[in-house]
């Protein structure tokens, strides 16, 4: 499994508790549209991801992240 696949797996595990409708996750899955998350859910989820990877995803960065794939790429970049 590549580094990116591993990050995807971990992100998917973190999404699970918030994935009420059991939506199948791909790179193209959107947080607002497909997962129907509101701003409070996003906030809790971002905090969980930050702690999982020991990184900071600033609000400025969050504004640019709409899909699971974009988040995985951002985490990969921040971990370096």
């Amino acid at each position: 499994m590549s580094d990116r696949d591993e990050i995807f797996e971990t992100v998917a595990e973190q999404i699970a508790p918030f994935n009420k409708k059991g939506i199948k996750l791909t790179d193209a899955t959107t947080f607002a549209g497909d997962l129907e998350w509101d701003s409070l859910t996003v906030m809790d989820f971002v905090a969980a991801i930050e702690d999982e990877f020991d990184i900071i995803i600033t609000m400025n960065m969050q504004a640019e992240i709409e899909t699971v794939g974009q988040l995985v790429d951002a985490v990969a970049k921040l971990k370096d």
């Binding site: 509101d38 701003s39 409070l40 906030m43 900071i56 600033t58 609000m59």
Partner: protein, 400 residues
Amino acid sequence: MVDLFTKFDPLINEREALLATGVRDPYGIVMDKVLSPTEAMVNGKRTILLGTYNYMGMTFDPDVIAAGKAALDKFGSGTTGSRVLNGTYAGHKDCEDALKEYYGVDHAIVFSTGYQANLGMISGLAGKGDYIILDADSHASIYDGCAMGKAEVVRFRHNSVEDLDKRLGRLPAEAGKLVVLEGVYSMLGDVAPLPEMVKVAKKHGAMILCDEAHGMGFFGPNGRGVYEEMGCEKDIDFVVGTFSKSVGTVGGFCVSNHPKFEVMRLVARPYIFTASLPPSVVATAATSIRKLMHAGEKRAHLWKNSKRLHQGLRDMGYKLGTDTAQSAIIAVILTDMAQAVSLWQGLLEAGLYVNTARPPATPAGMFLLRCSLCAEHTDEQVGEILGMFERAGRATGVIP
């Protein structure tokens, strides 16, 4: 042409559906006549005010009103100008002097509103490459100050010292950092663990701004705020406050001992690009602030009111935002907007006004009725308030 209002349709529909059930609009109340800091006429009915943030009841103080009238006669109705051009009168400087006396600090800057004080301070202080670290439950003016500036913005979980520590630890050591805290968080009326947070912020080399909008007047030996009560005066770099709560008029300010503080007048855009406060407003503010320095009895009565209302509501079975009365805000937690509005209306019809609050203004998607007490509420009024909560709560099925 794309109608730019289409995006508001869900909100418009939700509101119409709520009003169609026959309830009154909780965001459309008109005070026809205001009788005192604690009573007004609403729809022809004498109504006790329990949602005004008029904590110290200074709005009808005879000295405050006299100062405003005198300034109106002497300096006119408005300044028609920016603080940095033609909008600084003797009254504005006197108001800043009153703040310096009240807070025991070297510098004070008066803004036109508390909202603008946060916008100006936060967007001005933290620039490109700097970091702002804020509590997730921060007031909209703090979030908007972040959005207006060019700094990187990082949130930590509400009142979590550990979360703040972790996030500060992940930031570049050499970057400029501003931690933004509030003494009292206005939605639930809970206070921040300032000594622990200050310690963590200092450990990571951050400067600290504390918003004391809901703490001024009745926390600490001199009424400076929660930070004074908790003994953090030496460690808070900037205190932001407002005239629209305990002071009883409108306006905002920031006080500091930083030797370069005055430069904020040249870099804070919400200070520069708006008209200054009218002379009557700064005169009432200065008079009120100086009187608040000697308001020990009022403070004691406000705390007594807050503790009594909290205990009374809890005993009736209401779910409240805090376990004890931490401030002069008591938040009643309800299940949804319909329940919140039905209780709100029941109280209003009985003659009591409280605030309704709903997401996204509230934390964790809560629906709230927020009560804010006043030092001028009499013991009899607090008794009446409890009676109205008991009857309306039972009638709407909120309490058993």
